[in-house]
Amino acid sequence: MKKYAVITNDLQFAAAHKHKERRRAVAKFLPKQGEFLKKMRTLGVSIIHLQLVVSESDPRSKGISDELKFTEGSKGVRILEDVLAKSDIVVKKPKDSGFFNTNLEDVLKKLQITDVIITGMQTQICVQTTAADAYFRGYKVLVPSDGVVSTRKKDTKRALEWMAGYCATVMTLEEIFNYVKENLH
């Protein structure tokens, strides 16, 4: 029996506000992402947010404001309110892939997930590595072409092509919602 989970990557304040170009890209992407998650929750699909948390000694934590930090307890590390609901699960991660030194696989196994829908940012880094890692671990991987974002559009385009070629089925958010809905009933 198919069981789905949506995994978001780095939908955090620091990542969304890194610089002007990023803020612009995220502002376009976020409303649709929020809507999608709401609809998926109505289907009973689990939503798992991967939250990047790095140490104070990490070079990415140096010389920047608290809002742009990914350290524990910083303003930047928070998951964006637009995508977070009480029923969601948050998995902290130290690196790019959501499976690297995390309990993500344990969470997925406990929920008996068979198919993962991988969303978030950035497409060519965390989304791509998490998708590959999920594929290696035997999950069917779906990636929404309009549910992922990079600062530069060309990075998303190339990463989507790569994922479609190697490890994932690429569809739109709407197509994925309909597909999951049909396969649940």
Binding site: K95, S97, F100, T129, T130, F136
Partner: protein, 342 residues
Amino acid sequence: MSTKKKERIVLEHGTGGLLSQKLVSEFIVSILSDLYLGKMEDSAILNLDTKAIAMTTDSFVVDPIFFGNGNIGKISICGTVNDLAVSGAKPMYITLSLVMEEGLALADLSKILKSIHDTAKEANVQIVAGDTKVVRKGEVDKIFINTSGVGTFGNNRERLTIPLIQTGDDIIVTGNIGNHSIHILSLREGLGYESRVLSDCAPLNHMIDEVVERAGKGKVHLMRDLTRGGLGASLNEIAFGCKRNIEINLDQIPVQYETRMASDMLGVNPIYLANEGTLVIFCDPKSTSQILKTLKANKYGLNSQLVGKVSKNKESVVFGIDKEGEKTVIENLYGQELPRLC
């Protein structure tokens, strides 16, 4: 307090005093045990059975120092053993210098020394001299290692050098390329390939001996271990040295599927990625099948492939030929593809 109880390396371990002596005599030497021939004097005096020797030296700064199927200690022995062996020499003696950062856990040092011991034992080399230095926090990253090695050409061993290469020579690659780089990079950045793609780090001297011996005298012309710069850089260096073109069938180059996948994701060409246990061999075509048979029977040569030929043209260019027969130039690597992999 004994060095074992201190649990971490401290600056006093490098002062030359009692603590330094204890570190060497009680900790390091006890782990290297049967493979350590040092006499705690200023130099080692060694007997050699040959008029010619091969010598090499290399420094190892890999980050992270521990990886899926090895560590910096294993690489430091494999790198030097392989450098000696590809010249045709029998690796005999190794020196070992450790530059350690204050705070390095003794348990980590112990694991590294255990790997050095096990790898040296497998390669049948002895560690004849050593040095330890301790530097302040931040002056090195945990531990850097230098090894130097001596190999001999006794029993009429053939010296394998570029001038032996001839037009028409076959070119063999002894294993999947790029795995070491992808493994290390994946561990460093958490890319998700670290358990799928393992380092190829291995001492290859026994496999090399088997290949040379079974191929017959004069049949193996050159070997290179494909470390930094990978196959692409080595082939360019060889083409320049032998003043001939080299033609490689791109589809024949052994690349693990996941390594190709990761390389494509990262936008790097596996042909330039570093390896720690893979060779390129130039040989007389009459011996190719025998060499491949020998390689494939060895655990470090299972994925060996004939990949190309030395051409008669003398422009020193390396060509890659795809399955449609289209030729492209495999350029030399400018700079380094990825940092601190070995």
